[in-house]
Amino acid sequence: MRARWFPLVLAVALFLALVFLTVPIAAIFIEAGPAELLSSLGNEQALDALGLSLLTSAIALLVIVVIGTPTAYLLASRSFRGRSTIMTLVELPLVVPPAVAGIGLLAAFGPSGILGGVTENLGIRLVFETAGVVVALTFVASPFYLRQAQTAFESIDPSWVGAARTLGASEARAFVTVAIPAALPGLLAGGALAWGRALGEFGATIIFAGSLQGVTQTAPLAILELFGSDFDAALALSAVLVAVSAALLAAVKIVTPNRGGPARGTLA
């Protein structure tokens, strides 16, 4: 009988990965009982932070979708010189540490940054302002949407858009009536991922925008502060964030069509 050790190795690896990835999340809910969760809803700082997180991440998502969708379509539908360089550049925030993103934003848009004079002349203040939080979230979350949206547009059968064009539709009309509906599941999935990343943003926000209750203190920043003063409230706010993020992930799973399970062909 041949050794059956390899499937066992796979199973053990899966078990270790599953335990390691789920225990910390489960611990939040085990430690934060219903009583703590309820009492934290009375914690003004936690509520302010949650409200601010939802507001700023929603605005950031709107900006990302409005500018990111045509950008992704352009990158997906045309080949031109420098395309791969541009793709690398727009994906860079994905691998840049958030603290580095915050330093970069300060060096660019801070009062003594290279574009600080420009923004000041336009009357735009970002540091210490809610708008600065939106900028930080948009910066770190954009690539999540761009990548997913570009893939979604690339996987559309080009003959569909071509057919619309031969029927007399302008490219703009074909983009809106054919390309976007066809790519919609991918766009929604990208939006949910970007939203989740924005909700969790910490480093860029504290360095670029600061932390003030009701103005720039998002939920992750409040968790750090509550950790030092009120551990139960920090746990409860963490639990709320986990629930919101889990809901987003579930939404992604629902809108993303199941592509028929494991890719057997690639292993054979």
């Binding site: 540091v127 504290i206 600061g210 932390s211 720039t216 502060e225 950790f227 030092g228 551990f231």
Partner: protein, 239 residues
Amino acid sequence: MALAGILAGCGGSGDQLTVSAAASLTGAFDAYGEATPGEERFSFASSGQLAAQIRQGAGPDVFASANVAYPEQLAAEGFAEPPVLFARNELVLAVAPDSEIDSIGDLAESGVELVVAAATAPVGEYTRELLSRLPADLREAVKANVRSEEPDVKGVVGKLSQGAADAGFVYSSDAAAAPQDLRVVELPARLQPSIAYAISVLADAEEPERAREFVTGLLEGPGREALLEAGLIPASEGA
């Protein structure tokens, strides 16, 4: 060597002394660490967050706090031995070099951007204590100009160094150590809170002997020199 250090850190075993210390002790303790024969692993953060970590079971050998209250609470809860006072510090107002702010009264002007530390960091608590001694109208005007509550004193210094804010309350030792030229506005003695640093050996320290040596060296050995060098006032200097 580095790998050995990482492994020792993971196992919590062996020769390294782990020290959780207030962010404002970074310069002094790094220098003290060079002067000791053994190896220390420092974790610098807001004293309030370090105390919370200890309550959650993170076990350094030594905890050095920018106040007396946190180590005393930990001692009362059985996490630490009774603390020893080892240093004092002062609050100053640090301002950008080109700023026109010359006194605490100037902080009330509209448009001044002031950064402070969050209340969980002792420096934030001292700042609030100082502000509470101001006349009510001045105090409210100053508070209205607070644009950010940073997690620890390094965040305040960072915002000032970047020119993102006009002024911030920091320890005099931090203002001296700031990489950029920050101008220091001394504050009237009647407003100064009493700032005392206390250190505790943790109840379940893995290296209690070395931990006590570390504390002793801080009171009368090379640690005392390092504190002076970094702009703190060793406790033996008298208050």
